[in-house]
């Protein structure tokens, strides 16, 4: 059932929606079968053939009209009740005074994640502890985006000028797919993210590494790469803890080596793909705001060595 994420919920919110979807589906299926059955019956039983009686010139029957008006109203009234209870379950009210756990900001075309309590800053890969309801304060830095991790909860837009609150939760460890679900420009396709739910111990360990200042590079390649990071103006957009780089135009790279994917999941985080990304971002993710710096192969290799050391 993982193939159908909306039917493989791992949170109480997503469970409520999944149950509703299944219930509604069966009712709609019944209606579909009724209509299709009737139409099929009509076209077979009343088809023109030799010896068929003349068509009956009837104009209607008010009682029948009332019946097939009231029954749908009844069905829809029942759906309304489901609607209200599912709303409460899937989008619980935020208790007054409850502070969001994460602030997530949608950018063209990446997700910035700020952990309020610990101060961790991440991009595109969200770690959460298992079994805890996580409240997200969702914003946008530019156009309308939409944050959607189907197994963890509903989708909701990230609207500039209109912050939204969203609950996500995972009742079991795992990696859960997420994507931007509102067309936001040319690289909307590659604004995917993932939520990695971990048991408390693993999550705490992850958090510790994220909070630690990355060690200065020691290998010659990596040292050269660190220098290139400044010379090639990477510092104008990216931040790396413990260095002069502190801009937030692009994703925080302090622990980039710890991430599974790159560039909103347009590429995998392997040395080869990172190399390709640095050399030709305009081929992997055309029109993304990452410029092509026309790096030589050596320069790219050195930067890869540096960045892959930032665990």
């Amino acid at each position: 059932m993982d193939r159908i994420p909306v039917l493989a919920p791992v949170s109480p919110q997503a469970h409520a929606l999944s149950a509703l979807l299944i219930a509604v589906f069966f009712v709609l299926l019944a209606i579909f079968l009724l209509v299709t059955g009737l139409v099929t019956f009509m076209i077979i039983r009343y088809r023109d053939r030799p010896g068929a009686p003349e068509a009956r010139q009837i104009f209607g029957w008010n009682t029948l009209e009332v019946i097939w008006t009231l029954i749908p109203i009844g069905i829809l009234a029942i759906f309304s009740v489901f609607m209200i209870s599912a709303d409460r379950a899937a989008d619980p009210l935020v208790p007054p005074g409850r502070i969001p756990d994460l602030q997530v900001v949608g950018h063209q075309w990446w997700w910035e994640i700020n952990y309020r309590a610990s101060g961790v800053v991440a991009a595109n890969e969200i770690h959460i502890p298992v079994g805890k309801p996580i409240l997200i304060d969702l914003r946008s830095a530019d156009v309308v985006h939409d944050f959607w991790a189907p197994r963890l909860g509903r989708k909701i837009d990230a609207v500039p000028g209109h912050p939204n609150m969203l609950w996500i939760e995972a009742d079991q460890p795992g990696t859960y797919m997420g994507e931007c679900a509102e067309f936001c420009g040319v690289e909307h396709t590659w604004m995917r993210f993932r939520v990695i739910a971990q048991n408390r111990g693993d999550f705490d360990a992850w958090q510790r590494t994220q909070l630690a200042t990355p060690l200065s590079p020691t290998a010659p390649d990596a040292i050269a790469g660190a220098k290139l990071f400044t010379d090639k103006t990477c510092v104008n957009c990216h931040a790396i803890a413990g260095t002069v780089a502190n801009q937030t135009v692009g994703p925080d790279l302090s622990h980039i080596a710890s991430r599974v994917m790159l560039a909103g999941e347009a590429a995998q985080n392997t040395p080869d793909e990172l190399f390709r990304w640095l050399k030709q971002p305009d081929v992997i993710k055309p029109q993304s705001h990452m410029p092509n710096f026309k790096l030589t192969d050596d320069e790219a290799r050195e930067l890869v060595a540096y960045l892959e050391g930032l665990k």
Binding site: Y46, F59, W68, K155, Q287
Partner: protein, 551 residues
């Protein structure tokens, strides 16, 4: 008993005799303008279809590079815009323009020159829209142009400006057309044709005219303010300047939702003509089909924010729009039941028109049911902006409006051209279209549930995504082939088709009481009208409809 009346009153316009291209360009005759609409709409159908094939080709497999992401975005923007504003609406308008004056026994529309202006404005708007391709690129902001993406800061090229101006042009023409239809139907009906005896296609055209009159100004206002934002550096819809992105969405959808009913109501009218004729009995529940259309028209203005359930509106707002959206399903369902009941006790002739009308009942119902799953707004939170949504609206728009258009084409082509379309080839075209359509779009329901978002130029190789996209793309090419077959079939019929005669279907409304095609003045004499089926009453005076109904 022969109380023939003079052909319906019409404005006295002296039309000079012209031939060739000049005649068509200067024509104010509703039949010629109707044909112009139909030809123009067919051309844009092919162009919009090509855009769809580019989309489906690019999505055939993950990480294809058939077109650049920017081009892909222009393709889906223009595909939607073209199909809605340059195909479905003009095609249905073309049928109305040709057929409505005939159905009410009139000589022409109330404002023949305004009629011509409407067509040429629509065409001109389409040209402006397509000119954008050679002037820096078409709009790539999607057919609903959400802000701030469509503002200058994020769409700096003029594509969006051409999109705005093209739509404004088309909108003015459409509004003029709506006013023309309403006045025509109100003022030009032949003696005896009361509102309660109106053919349902005419009734739907009338209701639709009011929908357009109230809905089109809403998008015109939104477009005007977006243009002012873009040209004069204002920020009405731009949060960066204190404006509201959500206000754009409210404005757009307050038009956008009535718009989808504008696209389906005339198709409902076609179905309401075709099913009775080929079942050989009157429509079941005429008053209910007519009244439910009025209900739909009113309700359509109360549901718009169901397109915005994911925006983050209040619980109360979500609930209100959810309930309203479910309510609008009721009058729609009433129609489906009445059309089905019309076949009961009938003697059904399976002409291609009837096959499309029957298929419509199934495919439009599927679209309507998936619509209900969106109205239940918590479900919308999992379904919207995925391929499940794309499936839904194609089932109602293609399985609904376009199947209705095909039914109308097969039904009225003989009246318009004097020749029958080949029923033999028609059956092929029907099955290729029906199978191709379902192959393309049914699997998209599952693709959406699997999580594939809409408006993406490619996708990761997640389980099943490639296979489902491939099936959809194959279906799309099958559909494309079916459309080409349809076009070929039209040309064949025009040159070699069987002569139709006045009334090849033995139908009962007034357009069949004249030659095929009708003479310039439409009728030599209009038959007397004492009921909803004047030609039935004429052929069966002892069993005339209103005699039977009274007994």
């Amino acid at each position: 008993m022969s109380e023939m009346v003079e052909a319906g009153v019409a404005p006295a316009i002296v039309v000079p005799e012209r031939e060739g291209l000049l005649r068509w360009i200067t024509s104010v005759d509703h039949k010629e303008i109707g044909i112009l609409y139909i030809i123009s709409a067919m051309a844009f159908f092919l162009i919009g279809g090509l855009e769809a094939l580019v989309i489906r080709l690019q999505l055939l497999a993950p990480n294809f590079h058939i077109v650049s992401p920017e081009t892909f975005d222009q393709m889906f923007t223009m595909h939607g815009t073209t199909m809605i504003f340059l195909f479905v609406m003009p095609m249905l308008t073309g049928f109305s323009t040709y057929v409505v004056p005939l159905m009410i026994g009139a000589r022409d529309m109330a404002f023949p020159r305004l009629n011509a202006m409407s067509f040429w404005l629509q065409l001109f708007g389409g040209i402006i829209l397509y000119f954008s391709f050679v002037a820096g690129g078409a709009s790539s902001a999607g057919w609903f142009a959400y802000t701030p993406l469509s503002e200058k800061a994020y769409s700096s090229l003029p594509g969006v400006d051409f999109w705005i101006l093209g739509l404004a042009c088309i909108g003015i023409g459409t509004l003029a057309g709506a006013i023309n239809f309403a006045v025509t139907i109100i003022c030009l009906r032949v003696e005896g044709l009361t509102i309660r005896r109106l053919p349902l296609f005419v009734w739907m055209t009338l209701v639709n005219s009011f929908l357009m009159i109230f809905a089109l100004p809403l998008i015109n206002a939104a477009l005007a303010m977006l243009l002012i934002d873009r040209f004069f550096n204002a920020h009405v819809f731009d949060p960066a300047g204190g404006g509201s992105a959500i206000l754009w969405q409210h404005y757009f959808w307050s038009f956008g939702h009535p718009e989808v009913y504008i696209m389906i109501l005339p198709a409902f009218g076609i179905i309401s003509e075709v099913i009775p004729v080929f079942s050989r009995k009157p429509i079941y529940g005429y008053e209910f089909v007519a009244a439910s259309s009025v209900a739909i028209a009113f309700l359509s203005f109360t549901v718009w924010a169901h397109h915005m359930f994911a925006v983050g509106m209040s619980h109360v707002a979500n609930l209100a729009f959810g309930i309203a959206s479910m309510t609008i399903a009721v009058p729609t369902g009433i129609k489906i039941f009445n059309w089905t009941a019309t076949m009961y006790g009938g003697r059904i002739r399976f002409t291609t028109a009837m096959m499309f009308a029957t298929a419509f009942l199934i495919t439009f119902t599927i679209g309507g049911l998936s619509g209900i799953s969106f109205a239940i707004f918590p479900l919308d939170w999992q379904l919207t902006d995925t391929y499940y949504l794309v499936a839904h609206f194609h089932y109602v728009l293609f399985g609904g409006s376009v199947f209705g258009i095909f039914a109308g084409f097969y039904y009225w082509f003989p009246k318009i051209s004097g020749r029958l379309l080949s029923e033999r080839v028609g059956k092929w075209q029907f099955w290729l279209t029906f199978i191709g359509f379902n192959l393309t779009f049914f699997v998209q329901h599952i693709l959406g549930l699997a999580g594939m978002p809409r408006r993406v130029f490619t996708y990761p190789d997640l389980p099943g995504w490639h296979a489902m996209n491939a099936i959809s793309s194959i279906g799309a090419f099958m559909l494309g082939f079916a459309v080409l077959l349809f076009v070929w079939m039209i040309f064949e019929a025009l040159s070699n088709g069987e002569i139709a005669g006045d009334n090849p279907w033995e139908a009962w409304t007034l357009e069949w009481a004249t030659t095929s095609p009708p003479p310039p003045e439409n009728f030599e004499r209009v038959p007397p009208v004492h009921g909803r089926r004047p030609l039935w009453d004429l052929a069966h005076p002892e069993r005339a409809d209103e005699l039977v109904a009274r007994s």
